[in-house]
């Protein structure tokens, strides 16, 4: 804003206008590319499961996907997946489903066994980044070695992208899914778009 406008306009206090960025609009405007395409994934039921040893098996049975016991790996059955996020922490994903029936089923199966189940379906959004240059694009904000040896298909981890935390998983040699907390999503999306330029 020019000095003159500031003098004649209203007193904004310590504020400023901020139109903001719509993730949906960003996603609509994203151009596919042969080297790496970025896509917003549809809504997903997300449940965080944490608990003691006794509850782990029944939780997986109730969900229909065993909770992986190997660090930084995910299991998939049909459309559902379970990601290892920590030694007693998993995130259960069911794209296109509502969380309530899943929540109830797992609570029933684990009743009386020490655990915690929390619905975080709305907490984050997910992007698919696919193409031969997907790793190159991700490595513009993520410091991990994303070669297939070091980060194979089936690996997942919480990590960072620039100044945001993300959950990253590799679903195919050339495909990654980035799960990012909702309010950080436009930031991460725009940086990924910037990284896709010239990739």
């Amino acid at each position: 804003m020019s000095e003159a406008a500031r003098v004649s306009g209203p007193d904004l206090g310590h504020g400023h206008p901020y139109p903001g960025v719509s993730l949906a609009a960003l996603a609509e405007g994203s151009k596919p590319s042969a080297s790496a395409s970025l896509k917003l994934l549809p809504a997903t039921a997300r449940l965080v499961f944490r608990g003691r040893e006794a509850a782990i098996g029944p939780a997986g049975e109730a969900f229909g996907v065993a909770l992986p016991r190997e660090a930084c790996r995910f299991n998939t059955n049909g459309t559902r997946s379970v990601l290892w996020l920590g030694p007693d922490e998993w995130i259960l994903l069911a794209p296109g489903e509502g969380p309530a029936p899943l929540f109830a089923a797992i609570e029933t199966a684990t009743a009386g066994l020490p655990h915690a189940l929390v619905d975080v379906s709305s907490r984050s959004v997910a992007f698919d980044l696919s193409g031969p240059k997907a790793g190159f694009v991700l490595n513009q904000g993520n410091p991990l070695d994303l070669s297939l040896d070091a980060f194979p298909v089936g690996m997942c981890t919480r990590t960072v992208f620039a100044k945001s935390e993300i959950v990253l998983r590799r679903t195919a040699p050339d495909s990654f899914v980035v799960d990012v907390w909702r309010s950080f999503a436009p930031y991460v999306w725009q940086l990924l778009e910037e990284a896709r330029r010239g990739a």
Partner: protein, 1000 residues
């Protein structure tokens, strides 16, 4: 004009591709493959700049990164302008515009050159000595004048229009430098199958091989061997080759920073490509094949344009087909000078004479020079040069056993000098490796490593071609083995090149000139002479680090590449102390100057930081809300209507909440779901409050302390079920509180069966506040009875709204009846809009954080971080009631038991009324009992919050005052720069002190 000084043929330039460029507006032409420096030399131009301090005419000294003189500004416009580029590294492209620096009005006539005449007044440390008084003149007069006169390029005036990107990469073996040693190392590592990166700062790989004339490897001319080796490496899919890529920093655990120049050399860059890329490479093993830098000789008038490093002169002739002159004098202390003489002679440059400091030059190269009929003068020094803007002659003085012999003037237009080679140990030194002094080579070489690296070839003093190749191959194989246990096949190299020997010189060379007037430069870039360094030692400086700072030698962008060893030699001589005992200054990153852009990368403007938006942000923005930054969040500060400023808007919003109903986006509140059989026990330990008896369906305001007893955070907590709590935290405190809880849970009480999950972003939180709040919400809710009997103040109920699951809190941060509707954030905006629509007939008013602040201050509610500063106990801020005194333990309890934590003179939260009711105090203002007391006036405390309260029609303030509760009713003073404001201490609850409005 394509260059009067071009050789007839040869070099790596493409003579079929002429390239037009301008230098200081002069239209010139070179060839594709030229650097700006080589093109200027081919056009007979050496004068390229004025020196930093004395404004002496300066020419091109070198052919690489070590160039201290030929610094130019390049750019097609202000938004693409880069100052201080070394002309030796600027690749020529069609239409390149370059300008010289530090001269006015022109390079050939520079008014600042009077400094040179005044040089006796400008000795080392002159600014410490001269501009002493008056002290104020430093900032007002001396410093601006000095900065205007001494300096290099100018900063561009427009914002940088280029893009920069940043990349992480990993490899098994990183090889820095693609000269003979680096190439051989890469070949070995590649053959062993590991992942290799080979990087080189130049546009072409090959290092010294690119300037080779008559060397051969494996029976092939060196340049043919180079092409074959590069083809072999390019074909290997485990090798990445990166040119125009400078390894500029060596950071812990083998993190090497590379600057890749992507479009700098292109006339019309692809807009999709960044100008530069920053690579942060994590290498399992590193091979440093960074080569060596030629040492200049320090003799009087050695800075005249046309005086060059001998190997650089040879590089211009062999690699670029650019003759540095027509008639050359060589001044050398080693055999390399002879190689340059022979190569220049082959390029058609007349060699007037070789002056050799040595008494008996007897190597292979001197023999060849003699055989070629070149005049060689042993025991001879150059003791001066003539010429103004270009060297026109050299004074050669015979050195006798005890004195100087005759001096002869020899005409020349170029003077090449060589004092031998200094290994380029910058990166090794940055890696914290310890250097060792090599007494034979008179230089430092890598000694003990700290990181997983090894140096190869010339960078550790192996200057002969065959030795460099063999060493490089062995080091590459060693690195591959260390990285992955991989084995490289045996390979030998049959190299044929004249031997360079081990001779050289450091320090100043002998001369018979008046020492008071002779200027023998050690550091061209900083205008430091041998005399300056000797002066520093006479003035008592002993440490090389002090001498460096006093004289400025080896500082700035140059980092002593050409000057370090000669400065050491002079100090060693002056102090009669061996070089290794003097030490060496620290090499700092970056190896060469690096752009700011590359460090910023994409983090500019809107993408500098995440701008976190709630699900309701778009709605607020459409309503014209003004936002404020709270941490990384964008929060609506107020919603102006028409031409309202902040104060009018906030007054209106406050009245609406107090008299009807307001709607507020509280989604940024931190939220943590605490679940498990031991959840209540965990809450008991983390918060001051007692939780065991809180029934499911009820809320409680919780206070969290650090272990030192001071308030850390607060928030409303809902018990959803016996084993499930919905905890809220302050907006800024969310990550800190979760980390604090995880710390205790994981490391102190791992036996507790309870788990924490952040739900901050799961929920949108829509606060509906005001006497009409119930009417607004009632029609929308299913399964929740909002009546005051069914849902009293401080309750939580689960149900649905618009069919969406919700947790509704009956809670108020305004003092009015209020509810907070929590819905999954993907539905946040939809629910907000429905509530807003439902509230239309009640005059529902959206309000922002400023109104929220005013309303809560009217009620005396604290904001952690505003009323508290990390040294407030619960009692200090009137929260003593929230401390469960019967609890055996909680975090912070023991600290509260210390006597000082309940001292009567602690600062306590009180209210302040200005005696003049319309005066609004400044937050942060100090409060005193007697403004006329002698300085320092005892401070009683300060104002923490201050607003105009529209419901009270006057100003209100909260403050923390020593023994404040005992001062209620007293008059105190707030001294301001222009006046003293009288205030009365009051209770901190200004509005509805009995809390009757919650239950309307």
């Amino acid at each position: 004009m394509t260059g009067a000084f071009r050789t007839a043929s040869g070099g790596r330039i493409d003579r079929s591709k002429p390239v037009a460029f301008t230098f200081d507006g002069q239209h010139l032409s070179g060839f594709s493959g030229d650097t700006l420096a080589s093109a200027l030399i081919a056009n007979g131009i050496h004068l390229t700049g004025r020196s930093f301090k004395y404004h002496r005419p300066r020419g091109i000294l070198s052919a690489g990164t070590d160039e201290p003189n030929a610094l130019v500004g390049v750019g097609r416009d202000e938004a693409h302008y880069a100052p201080n580029l070394r002309a030796t590294q600027v690749e020529l492209y069609e239409g390149l515009k370059a300008e010289s620096q530090n001269r006015w009005p022109s390079l050939k006539f520079d008014a600042g050159a009077v400094n040179d005449l005044a040089s006796p007044l400008l000795p080392s440390g002159f600014y410490y000595k001269t501009f002493m008084w008056p002290a104020k003149a430093w900032t007002k007069f001396y410093e601006p004048k000095i900065r205007a006169m001494a300096g290099l390029g100018r900063a561009p005036e427009a914002p940088d229009a280029d893009r920069y990107s940043q990349h992480y990469a990993h490899c098994d073996v990183l090889v820095v430098g693609s000269g003979p040693a680096g190439l051989a190392a890469a070949l070995a590592a590649a053959a062993s199958g590991v992942k290799v990166m080979l990087v080189d700062e130049q546009p072409e790989m090959g290092g010294s091989l690119l300037a080779s004339r008559d060397a051969s490897i494996d029976g092939k001319p060196a340049q043919q061997w180079l092409a074959d080796a590069l083809a072999e490496l390019s074909a290997a899919d485990n090798v990445t080759l990166m040119t125009r890529t400078t390894a500029f920093g060596y950071f812990p655990h083998n993190m090497i920073a590379l600057a890749e120049r992507v479009t700098e050399h292109v006339a019309v860059p692809d807009p999709e490509l960044p100008r530069e890329r920053l690579w942060q490479v994590r290498a399992k093993e590193v091979v440093l094949a960074t080569g060596a830098l030629e040492r200049p000789l320090v003799f009087p008038d050695n800075d005249r344009p046309g005086v060059m490093l001998a190997d650089s002169g040879r590089t211009y002739a062999n690699r670029y087909g650019a003759k540095p002159g027509k008639r050359a004098v060589i001044f050398t202390a080693c055999d390399a000078g002879y190689r340059s003489a022979l190569d220049l002679a082959a390029a058609g440059v007349e060699i007037a004479a070789i002056a050799d400091l040595r008494r008996n030059p007897a190597g292979e190269l001197p023999a060849k020079a003699l055989a070629a009929g070149i005049e060689v003068r042993p025991s001879t020094a150059v003791t001066g040069t003539s010429g103004r803007l270009r060297v026109s002659g050299a004074a050669l003085t015979k050195m006798g056993e005890y004195d100087f012999g005759a001096t002869q003037q020899i005409a020349c237009d170029v003077l090449l000098m060589s004092g031998g080679f200094t290994p380029s140990v910058h990166l090794f030194s940055q890696s914290r490796g310890k250097l060792a002094f090599d007494p034979v080579l008179n230089c430092y070489v890598p000694g003990t490593s700290v990181e997983r690296e090894r140096s190869a070839g010339a960078s550790r003093g192996l200057f002969e071609l065959g030795a460099a190749l063999e060493d490089g191959y062995a080091k590459g194989a060693d690195a591959a083995k260390a990285a992955k246990g991989a084995k490289a096949p045996a390979r030998a190299f049959a190299a044929q090149a004249p031997r360079l020997g081990t001779d050289g010189h450091i320090g100043a060379t002998p001369h018979n000139r008046n020492p008071a007037f002779a200027k023998a430069f050690v550091d061209w870039q900083n205008d430091v002479t041998a005399k300056d360094i000797k002066l520093a030692t006479r003035e008592g400086f002993r440490s090389i680090e002090h001498i460096k700072r006093y004289t400025t030698t080896g500082m700035a962008t140059d980092q002593g590449k050409t000057s370090n060893m000669n400065a050491l030699g002079i100090v060693s001589d002056a102090l009669k102390t061996p070089v290794p005992q003097i030490g060496l200054t620290t090499f700092r990153p970056p190896f060469t100057p690096t752009t700011f852009g590359i460090f910023a990368g994409a983090a500019r403007g809107e993408l500098f930081d995440p701008a976190r938006q709630t699900a309701i942000h778009g709605w607020a923005a459409e309503q014209g809300a003004i936002f404020e930054d709270v941490g990384n969040w964008k929060r609506a500060l107020y919603f102006p209507r028409g031409n309202e400023g902040m104060h009018e808007a906030v007054a209106r919003e406050c009245r609406a909440v107090r008299s009807a109903v307001g709607i507020f986006d509280a989604s940024t509140l931190g939220k943590i779901e605490i679940v498990g059989p031991d959840a209540a026990e965990f809450m008991n330990r983390m918060y001051t409050n007692a939780w065991a008896k809180l029934e499911p369906g009820r809320l409680r305001y919780g206070v969290m302390l650090r272990e030192d007893g001071f308030v850390m955070d607060d928030g409303v907590v809902g018990r959803m079920a016996p084993d499930r709590f919905h905890v809220t935290t302050t907006t800024g405190g969310a990550p800190r509180v979760l980390a604090h809880m995880e710390d205790y849970l994981q490391t102190e009480w791992p036996d507790l069966d309870v788990w924490l999950t952040s739900t901050t972003e799961q929920w949108s939180v829509i606060a509906v506040q005001g006497p009409l709040a119930r009417q607004v919400l009632r029609p929308l809710l299913e399964g929740i009875d909002l009546s005051k009997e069914a849902m009293p103040h401080m309750s939580v109920r689960e149900g649905t709204i618009l069919g969406i699951p919700t947790r509704v809190f009956s809670v108020s941060f305004t003092g009015e009846l209020g509810f907070e509707v929590n819905v999954p954030s993907e539905h946040g905006r939809k629910v907000w809009e429905a509530i807003y629509a439902s509230g239309q007939k009640f005059g529902i008013t959206p309000y922002g954080t400023e109104t929220m602040h005013v309303l809560r201050a009217e009620k005396g509610y604290i904001i952690v971080g505003q009323e508290t500063d990390g040294t407030a106990t619960p009692d200090d801020v009137n929260l003593g009631w929230a401390v469960g005194k019967a609890k055996k333990d909680f975090v912070g309890k023991r600290a509260l038991a210390r006597a000082s934590m309940s001292a009567p003179d602690r600062k306590q939260l009180v209210g302040l009324f200005t005696v003049e009711p319309q005066t609004v105090l400044e937050e942060g203002a100090q409060v005193v009992a007697d403004p006329k007391a002698p300085v320092p006036v005892p401070m009683l405390g300060h104002v923490t919050s201050s607003y105009h309260s529209s419901v009270l029609g006057r100003s209100i303030a909260l403050a923390v005052i020593k023994g404040g509760r005992g001062r209620i009713g007293q008059k105190l003073f707030v001294p301001m720069p222009d006046r003293v404001i009288e205030v009365e201490v009051t209770e901190p609850v200004f509005y509805d002190p009995k809390g009757e409005r919650f239950d309307v």
